[in-house]
Structures are given as structure tokens and as C-alpha cells.
């Protein structure tokens, strides 16, 4: 039987044409707002058990012994599994490097690492049983930063590395290193009239998706398992899960269940293998749901980073050169660290023309929490630093910061530091112009005839100021993000499109494995099908592994790549439909043979608008179905010594202007407005585009003023794994976000579109920081900014 709460088909009708370019509404929108949408944590199955994971209480230790006897003896407990119970020789998984143990073996490398798993007939019983497992740890010194990772006597986080990066890194505690050298920095430096340097720190941000990790594994009669799961990429999960279970991939069926946000945090596996192992061991369906506390340990975070930058410029404001070194903390396991390094290095110059560069980015292995994918993926940390540098340079030169950026802005035809030409519109100067031209929010909005309206002031209803100490600041930033998977990755997607007559109406069914995580792919796919096939009714099938891979819902790529695959499959369906039409009706009208034919409004029409036949008549008794893979232009790896290579598919640009008000005495910040201008190529769904830009902007604001996972540098333990102490912006922290959307087509992309989800997350943070600097006059080289940094009270009293 099917699991309750499993996803069902979503049929979308529209009285309007509902094609691309229209703001059709999300099919899941009302359900989500009214609380009726079934998330993965809502699933239920008759006779199911509950899984629970026991996690390490220390960051780095040898496991001396594990005693599960008391847990096993508890009534209601069906299974307790440790490393020794893993069924095959494959005991690790990982996105790129298979270094992550399914269950700890002999050693734990970070706080919260899974050590044992329990299945019981009640979640509380499972939790109690897990607490009864006795693990004896012998603690080891913790590696927490570059100095401790590369010290001569440093313990190796992973002994005996044999991954494909092991050979070229300078130290085994460095996951990957990517240098990029281009031009002649030494002689370019000679030309510089001013040189500015900066050392920047980026804190560890969490994706903080609202739906915690959860899924349901149901054993099947053929010895396989069906996993209902909230993830970002079903087939990537499948590739990692099946070998550990010792099952061929066709015996691990996967169906996407309701995803409550992702932002990169679901690219890695969480409880997938654990639930399957317990289901196969007990022969019963097993559900696992993390609570919020566990969720903070259950997924990777954004890499915290240290960035050292040097820029030079001539007196007339032209950048001469850039040197930078970016150190990303990858934590205990590799996750997406190598690709994050590739992004951080290749995008470290920002959207500027600099011919002479010397760049190095590395990711460390440490005992801190593992870090990996998060919206912006390496480009975020770099943007924070290079934009601070641009402001410093402008100040040094006595130039307007926007004009200085415009003077150095890249454009179509600019060569990236990797040697790759930018071969589609890059309207960096124009985006800055637009964002600067937007009207400014009025000053002192809090003043009213009845006194101060504290809701408009820093601190809000906490009533900390009635205007005292409040200073306004304005800041600008612009960023560049790549779209799609880079560095030679075969980044394809698959779509299956069927057209048939149902109830006397032509209906299109679109089936992909695309993970809908909130980005709106299910809406856009229906719009594409309507546009390409001229129908009203489109059914989007649940995403599962019964169709080929759609690739990941990340890297701003799904509208481009799976959207492209759907468009391509629709075009192939259209050809077949027209073939049928020609066969059946070709003799009735010469246009069948001579004219350019389209499908519009349920009919076959000529490009001149003449109706040749109804789709219902053409399709009578026939079903047309196509499943096809689709690829964007191939990319190349970056050279390991020079960083040269056409590594990226497409670039995406956004600019922000931040207006903040800072209570300079208390160090509290209210972001008044975050105006954004972004080039989206083509807005397939303008309302969704607006939502993405506003959401990305807000996530960037979060890491500017509040969001940070705090890790104790002495113990490498997480200090704030809760929404009580890991703060994300509420609606009262979210400013108005006016958006100016530019649509300059990229001729290489479907419909000319540009991936949009990440770019606004980049420039939002440095714009807010620049505005706070403008208000306070402080240097502020780290994000997030805390009240301590604005009031000089960061050191402890003692």
C-alpha cells in the first residue's frame, strides 16, 4: 500500500493561457499557506516504526566501545544498529568524496556525528532507547582552524586519503586547493597608485529550512525498499544509498515527498540510509523525523571563511590587480567543499575587469561541523570581501562607490580570471545605475505626531530607542554567481512528456525527477508545456526515480536545465503530434506540408493563424510520449595549477542598495530598505522571480546582522542549535524590497532565461554591511555584525 501523505499528482488548469511569462499561481501555494500541504514529516504508514539516531556528544574522539544491550532490551525496540551491522563493504557515502561514514567507525570527527540507530514502535521509546546506548569516547585534540589543521604535528582528520584531490593538496587536512593565476600581478602592482588590503571573516550560516529532515522507508516484497524523502536530488541520493544497502538501484525506489525548504542543506544525505537500513532489518516501514535541535546537526552549513584581499587601483579609478587567499572551513567531511572552492576562487574577482590576478582558495578538514552547499555556494563569502574592498578603494580614491564600481564593471565580452569569456549580457553597470536611481525611503519615518513609532526603529517593540543614537547609512553592492554545475560536470536533466486526450480534452503530463523545494519548478513546467503544446490542462507527476535524473535543485539551475529538458521533450512531442496530424489530415489541407505549424489553444494552427485541426481529433486513439535527456553547453575543469578553463555555464548578476538605521549606542540595526536590481534573462513567472529575489535578499540580510552557528573554538561543539539562539529574520526584520527586473536574453539558454535563485543572496549581505559602515564609520570586517562589534564591547570583562 502507498504511504499516507505521499505526494499525489498536481493538475493545474487555467482559464487564461497560463504560458511562460505569466504569473500563474503555484499549485501548492494555497495548501502550504493553509497548512494542508503534506510535508515529508507528515507521512504515516500502517504498522510503521520510528527511527532515532544517536549522535556523538563530542567533536573528536576514538570510540573505545559501544554497548547497545540495554537499548535492545527495552520493550518496543525492534532494532539497534551500529557500524558493525552495515550489510556490505560500502560503509561510507559522500557527494564527491565518499568520506562520510553511515555510522561512526572507531572515531567520531564532529559534534553530532551519527553513531547508532534505533527503531521502535513509538518515537519516545526510540529516543529513550538511543539514550541508553553507552558509548565510551577517548577524546582527541580538536582541529578548528587553518593553524591547527596544518600544524606540523596535526592529527589527520582523515588518514590514508586516496580521493582524487589527495594528490595535489599541500596537506592532507586540506580537502581541495584551487589557485588561479592570470596576467602579471607584480608589474600591474607597479602601476597602482593606491593599494588596499583587508582581512575578512564570514560566519557559519545555516540554511534554516523550516521542514526538518524526514522520510519514510517502506520495505517492498521484492526485497527492495521504497523511500519517500525530502531531498534536492533523488538520483544523487540513490547513487549513494543503494551500494550501502547492497541493493541494485532498481530495487531502491525513491519518491519525493513534501519538501519544507532546502537552500543547499538537502544536497547531502541525512537520514536516508538510516531509515532504509532499519526498514530492511525490521521488515517494517520506518519513519524518521529530526527535531529542530537535531536538524542543526543533521545537515551541512555554509562554509565559514577567512579571506585576505589586496587590490590596487590607479588614481583615475581603474583596478590594476587583485591578490586574494580564501580559506574555507569544510569541517569534518568533504561534502561539496571541492566545488565550493572552485566557485570561491573562480568568482573571487567579482563582476569586475581585472586582468592581473593571483588567487588561491582552499577548504580545510577540521573537527567543526561539516559544511557544504548553501545558496550562493562559495560566491557569497567572496562577494562579502571584494565588495568591502571596492568601498575601501573608492574611499581611498575619493570617488563615489557606485561610480567606482561602474568604471570597473565587467560586460559582455569580458574575460574571467579563468580565461573564460563572458558570452552573454553582463549588465553590471546598468544594475548599479538602476538600483541607485530608485527613490530613497523618507528620513525619520518613525516620527509621528504621537511620538516615536518604535516599530520603525532599531529594536522595534523592544522599545530601546525613541530616536536617540539612530544614524542612517546607505550602502551598495553587486555580485556575480555561476548558474548550473561547473567544471566539466555532466549536468543534464531528463523530462518525460505525454500528450493524450482525457475527458474530451487534450492533456499533457510532465514527469521529471526534479525536486520541488519551493523554487516553483512545478509551476514553471506547466507553463512551458502550455506554451509549447497549446493546451490548458497540464498534470505534473510526482517526482520519483521511475524517470531519469533531473539533476540537483541547486546552483540556480532547475528552470534552466530541467525547464530546458521539459521544453525539449515538449518540442519532440509536438513533432510527433504533427506527424500524426499529417498522416491523418495531411490530404485535406496543403498547409500541413508547407507551413510552419504550432499548437495553440488546443488546435494545430499555421504560423499565419489558420486552424488546421483540433488536438482532440489529431490525438484520438493515440498517446504521444517522449522521455529525453537534455544538456546545456559543456564546461571544462579548471587547471589545477593555473585555474584556467571554461568552467562555468552562465553567470547571474544582482545589485543591492541597502538603507539601514543603526542605534549607534546600543549597536542595534534596522534595515529600512533593500532595493534590488537583477537581470533574469527572461522571467518565466514574474511573481516567482520576485519571490526568489526577495527571499534571497532576506537570507543575505540574515547573515549580515544575526545568523550564525557559534562553535566553541576549544571544543568544536555547537553552542546554539535552536531557533531560540540561531536567529533568522522575522517579518519585522524584513525591510521593503523594491525589485527592478531586467530581462536581457542569454541566447544560449532556453527562452533566454538566466538562473536567478542565488544572485540576490550574494550582494544583499555586503550592501547591508556597507550601509552599517556608512552609519557608524566602523571598519567591520566580519559578518554577521553583532551589537558588540558596533559598541566596542566584544571582549569579555575579566
Amino acid at each position: 500500500m502507498a504511504a499516507n501523505g505521499a505526494p499525489t499528482k498536481i493538475t493545474q488548469g487555467s482559464r487564461t493561457k497560463g504560458g511562460i511569462g505569466e504569473s500563474t499561481l503555484r499549485p501548492d501555494g494555497t495548501l502550504k499557506v493553509t497548512g494542508e500541504f503534506a510535508y515529508s514529516s507528515d507521512m504515516w504508514h500502517e504498522d510503521m516504526l520510528w527511527g532515532q539516531i544517536l549522535r556523538s556528544t563530542v567533536a573528536h574522539a576514538e570510540i573505545v566501545s559501544i554497548d547497545t544491550s540495554e537499548a535492545l532490551a527495552m520493550p518496543g525496540v525492534h532494532a539497534v544498529l551500529t557500524y558493525d551491522d552495515l550489510p556490505t563493504d560500502v560503509k561510507n557515502y559522500g557527494l564527491e568524496i565518499q568520506d562520510t561514514p553511515v555510522l561512526a567507525h572507531g572515531k567520531v570527527r564532529h559534534h553530532g556525528e551519527p553513531v547508532a540507530i534505533v527503531a521502535a514502535d513509538h518515537p519516545e521509546t526510540a529516543r529513550r532507547a538511543a539514550a541508553k546506548i553507552k558509548v565510551d569516547y577517548r577524546e582527541l585534540p580538536v582541529i578548528t582552524d587553518e593553524a591547527s589543521a596544518t600544524a606540523p604535528d596535526a592529527i589527520l582528520v582523515h588518514e590514508g586519503r586516496d580521493d582524487h584531490h589527495a594528490g595535489h593538496v599541500p596537506h592532507p587536512n586540506i580537502v581541495h586547493r584551487q589557485p588561479i593565476v592570470r596576467g602579471d600581478v607584480a608589474s600591474a602592482r607597479e602601476r597602482a597608485d593606491v593599494i588596499v588590503e583587508g582581512e575578512y571573516t564570514f560566519g557559519m550560516q545555516d540554511q534554516a529550512f523550516l521542514g526538518p529532515e524526514s522520510g519514510l522507508a517502506v520495505p517492498e516484497e521484492d526485497g527492495g525498499v521504497h523511500l519517500y524523502i525530502a531531498t534536492q536530488w533523488l538520483h544523487s541520493d540513490l547513487r549513494q544509498i543503494a551500494p550501502v544497502l547492497g541493493l541494485p538501484e532498481d530495487k531502491v525506489r525513491m519518491t519525493l515527498s513534501g519538501v519544507g525548504g532546502a537552500f543547499g542543506g538537502r544536497e547531502d544525505l541525512s537520514m536516508q540510509i538510516h531509515a532504509c537500513l532499519l526498514a530492511l532489518r525490521t521488515g517494517k516501514p520506518v519513519k524518521i523525523v529530526y527535531n529542530r535541535f537535531e536538524s542543526f546537526f543533521g545537515h551541512v552549513h555554509r562554509h565559514p571563511a577567512k579571506l585576505h584581499y589586496e587590490h590596487g587601483a590607479t588614481r583615475d579609478g581603474k583596478l590594476t590587480h587583485m591578490k586574494c587567499r580564501i580559506v574555507l572551513d569544510g569541517g569534518a567531511y568533504a561534502s561539496a567543499s571541492p566545488a565550493v572552492v572552485g566557485n570561491a576562487s573562480s568568482l573571487s574577482v567579482g563582476p569586475y575587469v581585472i586582468d592581473d590576478v593571483d588567487i588561491e582558495a582552499i577548504a580545510l578538514y577540521t573537527n567543526n561541523p561539516p559544511c557544504g552547499a548553501m545558496r550562493g555556494f562559495g560566491a557569497v563569502q567572496a562577494c562579502f570581501a571584494y565588495e568591502a574592498q571596492m568601498d575601501k578603494l573608492a574611499a581611498e580614491l575619493g570617488m563615489d562607490p557606485v561610480e567606482f564600481r561602474q568604471l570597473n564593471a565587467m560586460e559582455q565580452g569580458t574575460i574571467m580570471p579563468t580565461g573564460q569569456p563572458v558570452d552573454s549580457p553582463a549588465p553590471v553597470a546598468e544594475l548599479l545605475r538602476r538600483v541607485k536611481a530608485m527613490p530613497m525611503p523618507p528620513e525619520r519615518q518613525w516620527e509621528s505626531s504621537e511620538g516615536a513609532d518604535v516599530r520603525q526603529l532599531p529594536g522595534g517593540l523592544s522599545n530601546t530607542t525613541h530616536g536617540e543614537g539612530v544614524v542612517r547609512g546607505v550602502g551598495y553592492a553587486v555580485g556575480i554567481k555561476n548558474v548550473g554545475f561547473s567544471e566539466g560536470f555532466d549536468d543534464y536533466s531528463t523530462a518525460k512528456v505525454r500528450m493524450e486526450v482525457v475527458g474530451g480534452e487534450p492533456v499533457v503530463t510532465v514527469h521529471t525527477a526534479m525536486a520541488e523545494v519551493g523554487q516553483g519548478g512545478v509551476t514553471v513546467h506547466a507553463q512551458i508545456a502550455r506554451t509549447e503544446l497549446g493546451v490548458t490542462q497540464v498534470t505534473i507527476n510526482p517526482a520519483d526515480t521511475q524517470v531519469g535524473s533531473a539533476g540537483s535543485t541547486s546552483a540556480s539551475r532547475q528552470t534552466y536545465v530541467t525547464g530546458g529538458a521539459v521544453k525539449n521533450a515538449c518540442e519532440l512531442v509536438r513533432e510527433k503530434v504533427l506527424e500524426i496530424g499529417r498522416r491523418k489530415f495531411g490530404s485535406y489541407h496543403p498547409a500541413w506540408a508547407t507551413a510552419e505549424l504550432l499548437l495553440e489553444g488546443g488546435k494545430v494552427v499555421t504560423d499565419g493563424g489558420e486552424v488546421l485541426a483540433g488536438l482532440v481529433d489529431v490525438l484520438e486513439g493515440e498517446t504521444v510520449e517522449v522521455e529525453e535527456e537534455w544538456r546545456h553547453r559543456p564546461t571544462e575543469p579548471f587547471d589545477l595549477r593555473t585555474g584556467q578553463g571554461n568552467g562555468h555555464v552562465q553567470y547571474s548578476f544582482a545589485a543591492h542598495r541597502a538603507v539601514v538605521e543603526v542605534d549607534t549606542e546600543l549597536g542595534l540595526v534596522k534595515v529600512i530598505e533593500l532595493a534590488c536590481a537583477q537581470d533574469v534573462g527572461k522571467a518565466l513567472n514574474p511573481l516567482s522571480v520576485l519571490g526568489q529575489i526577495q527571499g534571497g535578499t532576506t537570507q543575505g540580510l540574515g547573515v549580515a546582522v544575526m545568523e550564525e552557528i557559534v562553535v566553541d573554538p576549544k571544543t568544536a561543539k555547537v553552542r546554539n542549535p535552536s531557533f531560540t539562539d540561531y536567529l533568522i529574520p522575522t517579518i519585522l526584520d524584513t525591510p521593503t524590497i523594491p525589485v527592478d527586473v531586467l530581462e536581457l536574453a542569454d541566447e544560449h539558454a532556453p527562452y533566454g532565461l538566466r538562473g536567478i535563485g542565488e544572485a540576490p543572496t550574494l550582494s544583499s549581505t555586503p550592501a547591508v554591511l556597507a550601509a552599517i559602515r556608512a552609519a557608524t564609520g566602523l571598519e567591520l570586517n566580519r559578518t554577521p555584525v553583532r551589537p558588540e562589534h558596533l559598541t566596542g564591547t566584544q571582549l569579555s570583562e575579566g
Binding site: 527535531n291 517593540l461 549606542e665 534596522k670 519585522l732 551589537p787 566584544q794 570583562e797
Partner: protein, 296 residues
């Protein structure tokens, strides 16, 4: 875990006498979080929601008798005139949903230094009405907080109500958090002017092991206002007086570094809030005096 559901106050007292480890629960906004995260596993949980009396309040001559379970929303909506400091503090408690459930009894029972109600209660002046099968007593708020998350309750006692002095002058409450809503206090400050006795009272939250009053600051300000004839003249408090009051409030703190903020920030912020709330309350006092004189 056993769940006790007394139908009346007397039954509740009897149950608490029989099971002194029983944890009372009303709104559940604090206790349930602890239970859900397994931070606390009480042997007995005592649901007080059937004791209707706890959700009621009564405005008397001198003070308001506020039932332990009166939700913060009700305080904001109904007692703004009588208890302005507590109403302001109530507004900063968590989210609207939590304010619909949580009450002052919970803050007092938990006795966390970060409880939002404490500075307002200390500044206004209050007594906590507690009761057991042995009898009823009133504990002055100044003697109620005994240590980090410890209060003056005996094991068999329950909090029934809090008697808060009705405002006889302006009151203010100010709280620092690192976002603009739904945040636990990094530190908080309450100030109440009491023109009838020509005194001021303060309350400081999250800046010492317990909620505290800045007594030296109060004494200094009481003396300064008296000596300068400020209560009568209604003239502006001089900046040097305000500054010294603020410094003494900061000095009263005994804060710690934690994940929410450093000790030195807390001390600094309490000083800033003390100075600002003094300015605001004194401005109101002067404004009210002018209005009264104008009417006379």
C-alpha cells in the same frame, strides 16, 4: 510521567503537597519546550488550566491582583493604564501566539534571569501570592529571586497571583535582543517613577544571576531629585545626574558572556537603557505636571 489535573485550587494544593516534585503547567510555553527537547522529564506534570481563578485579575485601590495565568495579551489589552511597565514588557514576550498562552506565573515559576516580566515587576513593586496546604503568604518581589532559575517557593507551594502596585507615575521598559521581534533578552531594564513617594525603582533582567534592582542607582537618583527639587520644579534632569544614574545601573550588573552576548555589552547596554528610560519617564512626568497645572 503522571499527569495531574486538579479541578480546583484546593485540589491543586493537595496534589502539590502529595507530589512536591510535580511541575505546574498553565500556558505551557516554557515547560513544553523543555519536555519536547527532553531537557526535563518531571515525574508529575500538574495542569492548572482547570483552575479558572488563575486567569482572572482584579484592579484594587493600591494594586492589581493578577492571576498567575493571565495571558500577556490580556495584560497588554486591559492593564496598560494600571501596569504600563508590565504592559510594555508583555509586548516584547515572544510572538502573539505565545503571548496568548503565557502568563506572569510562568516567568516567576521558572525564575530565569531572562524572563521579560521581572524588570517591570521589580520596578513597579509587587508581591507574589503563594499558597500551600499549610497556608498562604505574600513574598515581596525583591525577595523572590534566589538564584539562577531558583525562587523562594517551598516545594509544596504554588503561585496563585501577583499583586502589582498600580502606577502612580510614568513607567518604561526596554529590552535588547538581536532581532526586532521574537527574541530572548540579551538584557532588559525597567524603570518606574513613584511621584507619590518621590522615589524611583529599577529592574534589570539578564545581566546578573537573578533579576535585580539597581539599588545604589535608585538611592543616588532619589537623593539627587530630592536635593535638586526636581519633583516640584519638574525641570529637566541634568545630563550629569542621568549619566551617573546610568553608570550606577551598569555597575549593579553582574553579567556573564554567553552565546547571546558578552558581559561587557550587557553592562554597557543596561547603562544606555537606564539613561534613555530615565529621560522618557521624566519627560512624561514633566508633561503630566504641565497638563495638571494647565488644568488648574
Amino acid at each position: 510521567m503522571d499527569f495531574l489535573r486538579p479541578a480546583s485550587w484546593e485540589e491543586a494544593l493537595a496534589a502539590k503537597a502529595e507530589h512536591p516534585t510535580a511541575v505546574p503547567i498553565a500556558g505551557g510555553t516554557d515547560v513544553m519546550v523543555e519536555i519536547n527537547f527532553d531537557h526535563r522529564r518531571p515525574e508529575y506534570l500538574m495542569d492548572l488550566n482547570r483552575v479558572g481563578d488563575l486567569s482572572e485579575w482584579e484592579v484594587g485601590e493600591e494594586s492589581v491582583r493578577l492571576g498567575a495565568s493571565v495571558p500577556y495579551t490580556k495584560i497588554m489589552e486591559n492593564l496598560r493604564a494600571e501596569l504600563p511597565g508590565l504592559a510594555l514588557a508583555s509586548h516584547t514576550v515572544a510572538s502573539p501566539q505565545i503571548r496568548n498562552r503565557g502568563g506572569v506565573g510562568g516567568n516567576l515559576g521558572t525564575a530565569s534571569p531572562a524572563g521579560d516580566a521581572h524588570p517591570a515587576l521589580l520596578a513597579a513593586g509587587a508581591e507574589v501570592e503563594v499558597e500551600s496546604v499549610r497556608g498562604s503568604r505574600r513574598i515581596p518581589i525583591d525577595e523572590f529571586y534566589k538564584g539562577v532559575k531558583r525562587n523562594a517557593l517551598a516545594a509544596d507551594e504554588l503561585i496563585r497571583a501577583v499583586h502589582v502596585k498600580k502606577a502612580d507615575g510614568p513607567q518604561q521598559f526596554s529590552k535588547v535582543g538581536t532581532r526586532n521581534a521574537m527574541v530572548i533578552a540579551v538584557c532588559a531594564f525597567g524603570l518606574a517613577l513613584h511621584p507619590r513617594t518621590r522615589t524611583v525603582r529599577t529592574g534589570i533582567g539578564s545581566a546578573a544571576p537573578t533579576p535585580i534592582r539597581a539599588r545604589a542607582a535608585e538611592e543616588f537618583l532619589n537623593a539627587a531629585l530630592e536635593e535638586g527639587g526636581f519633583w516640584d520644579s519638574g525641570k529637566i534632569v541634568t545630563p550629569s545626574v542621568a549619566k551617573q544614574f546610568a553608570d550606577l545601573c551598569a555597575a549593579a550588573c553582574n553579567p556573564i558572556d554567553d552565546v547571546r552576548g558578552t558581559a561587557s555589552y550587557r553592562r554597557h547596554a543596561v547603562g544606555v537603557m537606564a539613561r534613555r528610560t530615565l529621560t522618557w519617564t521624566w519627560e512624561s512626568y514633566r508633561g503630566a505636571r504641565r497638563l495638571t497645572e494647565g488644568a488648574a
